[in-house]
């Protein structure tokens, strides 16, 4: 037998041959457990992967009932007895080849091989260690649920199902990755999703030839159709409640086993400014908070660049008092304004990276050292001017308001500083147009990222320019298909 191409190799009826082949494929891996057992007078073997199943459940719900089976005339009779008369577990797939056998084995199933049978019975007794449900770290909110997705796909599906008790919510579970055989699951509301969009996504996923899928980034590339765009056209969420709201609008979610992030398709640019808390507050405050976010986004990208452009090329835009303050502050600084600001920003990025990668306890110390010691020392030594540090700090803090746009803000901020430093507002205008065009050209499966602003959809302004209350919103019957731009 060729164990290199074992996937489609059928299970042989001879038990010893089958066990030998399993051992050969697994290369005698230490976590492979094969225990001979006699069930109903027929030689069998129970196979499992160490640490992947619950020993307690296996003993009480599988092994005990199996040992009590009366003598059976043949292996066929034994299997039909188990399948017809015993409900050993809810999930009882049958493996007919070694591809299925190993996929189930490595998913935490316990598999029963029997002498004379060219198939194996699998029992879902998964009991591997998993992280318990906790608050998502990147998507905090105040008034919403404090539950987030975890790394286990089935737990995530149950979190969603608990919130959407409708048969219209569909899960399509499959495996991807020739080596990892990672479980992925397409999820949608069957009455809301554009069927052709669903078909197109399935097609895209089928076209991938990945060996492993370890995180969302592996599949994201296949689901983002717009090349060259700096803005995302698929979104990620860790929150089941957020995902429910997206599904209600006809979007499609993609769960990947092993990651707490779920991919949602398509994504609109405006979604970067919408949070779950917006829908919990009173509309007037939610609308105010949304406009603050728009302003923060602009400040995060443009503030240091405008400061540099105005100070270096257009000082007439400042009044005399402000101009004198800035001149006084900058006169002692040894570096030019663009170099100074890029230096501060790069220092911030380095500190941020250090804080992210270090253990939490040490990460706090990094913040103290960087904020108090380096920051204070840099200003008092005259290396960095106070107004520049203020501008950069405001810009960085403003960037935290829209965490989904962090990557874009970081790069654009530096580019705008360079453009503003070299060519003033003229440079900012040029780069602004390039960014705007880049955003405008971003679309995914025919859904433009700029919608509902361009193309303008007046009805959607109630959740963009303002946030109307749910009495009005419930009459919307909105699905994302309305935003589809026909060629």
């Amino acid at each position: 037998m060729n164990y290199q191409n074992y996937q489609k190799q059928e299970i042989p009826p001879a038990l010893q041959e089958s066990i030998a082949f399993v051992r050969q494929i697994a290369g005698n891996s230490s976590d492979l457990l094969i225990n001979p057992i006699t069930v109903g007078g027929i030689s069998c073997a129970v196979c499992g992967c160490e640490g992947m199943f619950s020993t307690t459940i296996l003993t009480s719900l599988i092994i005990e009932p199996l040992t009590q089976i009366p003598r059976q005339p043949s292996c066929e009779a034994l299997f039909s007895h188990i399948q017809d008369n015993l409900l050993l577990s809810m999930d009882r797939p049958v493996a007919r080849n070694y591809g299925d056998f190993f996929r189930l084995l490595h998913s935490g199933f316990v598999i029963l091989l029997a002498e004379g049978q060219n198939k194996a019975l699998a029992f879902g007794v998964q009991g591997y260690e998993k992280r318990s449900i906790s608050e998502p770290s990147g998507e905090e909110n105040i008034l919403g649920a404090q539950e987030g997705f975890v790394e286990t796909i089935r737990t995530n599906l149950s979190l969603l199902r608990r919130r959407m008790k409708t048969p219209l919510l569909r899960f399509e579970l499959s495996q991807m990755g020739s080596l990892s055989r990672t479980d992925i699951c397409l999820c949608y509301l069957s009455d809301r999703v554009p069927p052709q969009l669903l078909r197109q996504i399935r097609k895209e996923l089928e076209s991938s030839e990945l060996e492993t899928i370890l995180s969302t980034g592996y599949l994201q590339a296949f689901l983002e159709k717009c090349r060259g765009s700096i803005f995302d056209s698929v979104s990620l969420t860790q929150r089941p409640d957020v995902l429910c709201s997206k599904l209600l609008e006809g979007r499609i979610a993609l769960f990947i086993d092993g990651t707490p992030f779920v991919i949602v398709i398509p994504k609109l640019f405006i979604e970067n400014f919408q949070t779950l808390d917006d829908y919990n507050y009173k509309p007037f405050y939610a609308a105010f908070s949304r406009w603050i976010k728009y302003l923060a986004f602009l400040l995060a990208i443009l503030l240091p660049a405008f400061y540099i452009a105005v100070s270096m090329h257009h000082p007439e835009l400042l009044n005399s008092t402000l101009l004198l303050i800035l001149t006084d502050a900058e006169s002692g600084a040894p570096l030019s304004l663009p170099v100074e600001s890029i230096f501060v920003l790069l220092m911030y990025e380095i500190i941020r990276e250090a804080g992210l990668r270090l253990p939490k306890a040490v990460g706090g110390a990094v913040s103290i050292v960087s904020g108090l010691i380096i920051g204070d020392a840099a200003v008092s030594s005259g290396l960095i001017s106070t107004p520049m540090l203020t501008m950069v700090a405001i810009s960085v803090i403003a960037g935290f308001v829209t965490p989904d746009l962090n990557a874009q803000i970081t790069i654009l901020r530096i580019l705008f500083i360079i453009a503003g430093g070299l060519w003033g507002l003229f440079g900012i205008g040029l780069l602004g147009m390039m960014t705007l065009y880049n955003l405008a050209a971003t679309e995914n499966f025919g859904f433009p990222a700029t919608v509902p602003l361009a193309p303008f959809v007046a009805r959607s302004m109630r959740d963009v320019a303002t946030r109307v209350n749910f009495r009005k919103m419930q009459s919307g019957n909105f699905t994302v298909e309305e935003y589809y731009e026909q060629n």
Binding site: P194, P195, Q196, L197, R199, Q200, K225, C226, R227, V310, H313, H314, E316, L317, L318, N319, S320, W423, G424, L425, F426, G427, I428, G429, L430, G432, M433, M434, L436, Y437, N438, A440, A441, E443, N444, F445, G446, P448, T450, L453, A454, P455, F456, E481, Y484, E485, Q486, N487
Partner: protein, 361 residues
């Protein structure tokens, strides 16, 4: 019923139907606004009336193209069957773009662009246009509403600044500039030809988009002329570009100047103007010579720059002004008449497309 067509390639077909008439209105008005802010020296208050008359004339000029636009695809069919006509349109857009570059070179010093020379400014803008035109006409249409927001904000700032400096006594009723006004206004209206091509692609409310565009552009032009006369006064005689003089004189705040902010608008309008022409040329090349589609954007930009470099501004303006009524009025009129004659022939033969008759104008 789903609206999504699975068979389409999402990465291609960048020139496609606009989702709404608002996009068409925005791109035409913003492209036209570029021409208006570069309006040359004033000849008097008669020019305001002349511009209004020019606008009315253009509404009449647009009737055949609007009648033709009721049947989407008419323009494409026409240029496919008469390739030479399509080439004429391409040449017009190249010349119209070249005129834009000439205006930029001329007006850049007035805007005090912080570059080492107007050539550097042109190179930077060309590089930007090269990128923006590669994004396709659809991206232009989507960008337009955002630019429109900034444009309206700058106009509000301008009016706010100009308000306290308006002096109605500067209006000289005796000066006669009516025909100058008509002529200047018509020479600024290359977008009518652009509109003819784009109307073929607009989905709905084409008339509304065109009427709004024509009226808004006329309103903007008259506003600029009025403010230039009442705010600039005699100073207008010392400048080639009254709009920029107006932005210098109109300051909304006492202690600080705001004219540098117009640089942003100036740059954005120009890029949109050139990208639109490049996009339309790209579309025409796609229809006429599909194999060359890939090179259309860079080639058309290069063409515009070459025309701008080698041709005298007077010649460029002369050709575009002459070609404008032919391409925007006579050709649509000819096609519509031909279509109408064909429908009459069919009617005589017993096949009665009554709607064609009703839709003639």
């Amino acid at each position: 019923m789903s609206k999504i067509n699975l068979n389409q390639d999402f990465n291609k077909n960048k020139f496609s139907k606009f989702s709404n008439s608002g996009q068409l209105f925005c791109i035409l008005l913003l492209s036209g606004a570029w021409s208006v802010i570069c309006v040359p020296a004033l000849s008097g208050t008669g020019q305001i009336l002349g511009s209004a008359a020019g606008c009315l004339m253009q509404i009449l000029l647009c009737l055949p193209m609007l009648a033709l636009a009721r049947q989407s695809g008419s323009f494409e069919k026409m240029i496919k069957s008469h390739k030479i006509l399509g080439i004429c349109y391409i040449l017009f857009f190249l010349l119209w773009g070249a005129q834009g570059f000439l205006q930029l070179w001329d007006a850049a010093p007035a805007q005090l662009l912080p570059t080492s020379g107007k050539f550097t400014a042109a190179v930077l803008i060309t590089l930007t246009c090269l990128y923006t035109s590669s994004c396709g006409l659809r991206a232009t249409a989507r960008s337009a509403p955002f630019v429109m927001g900034l444009f309206l904000l700058s106009i509000a700032v301008l009016i706010l600044g100009a308000w306290k400096r308006i002096d109605l006594s500067r209006i000289d009723l005796e000066r006669n500039g009516f025909w100058d006004g008509v002529q200047v206004y018509n020479s600024l209206s290359g977008e009518l030809v652009t509109a003819f091509v784009l109307l073929d692609k607009a989905k709905t409310r084409k008339n509304a988009a065109m009427n709004s565009y024509l009226l808004s552009k006329a309103g903007f032009c008259i506003l600029i002329l009025f403010l230039s006369i009442t705010v600039n006064g005699r100073l207008s005689q010392f400048t080639d570009y009254p709009f920029f003089m107006l932005t210098t004189l109109s300051q909304p705040l006492q202690g600080q100047r705001a004219d540098a902010l117009y640089i942003l608008v100036f740059v954005m309008l120009f890029i949109l103007h050139i990208t639109l022409q490049t996009g339309v040329v790209g579309h025409l090349v796609e229809v006429l010579f599909p194999a060359l589609n890939r090179y259309a954007a860079p080639a058309s930009l290069a063409g515009m720059l070459l025309f701008a470099w080698f041709l005298n501004p007077g010649i460029t303006q002369g050709i575009t002004s002459t070609a404008l009524p032919v391409l925007a009025f006579l050709i649509p009129l000819f096609i519509r008449t031909k279509q109408f004659a064909k429908s009459i022939r069919k009617q005589n033969a017993g096949n009665i497309p009554k709607q064609d008759q009703e839709n003639f104008i």
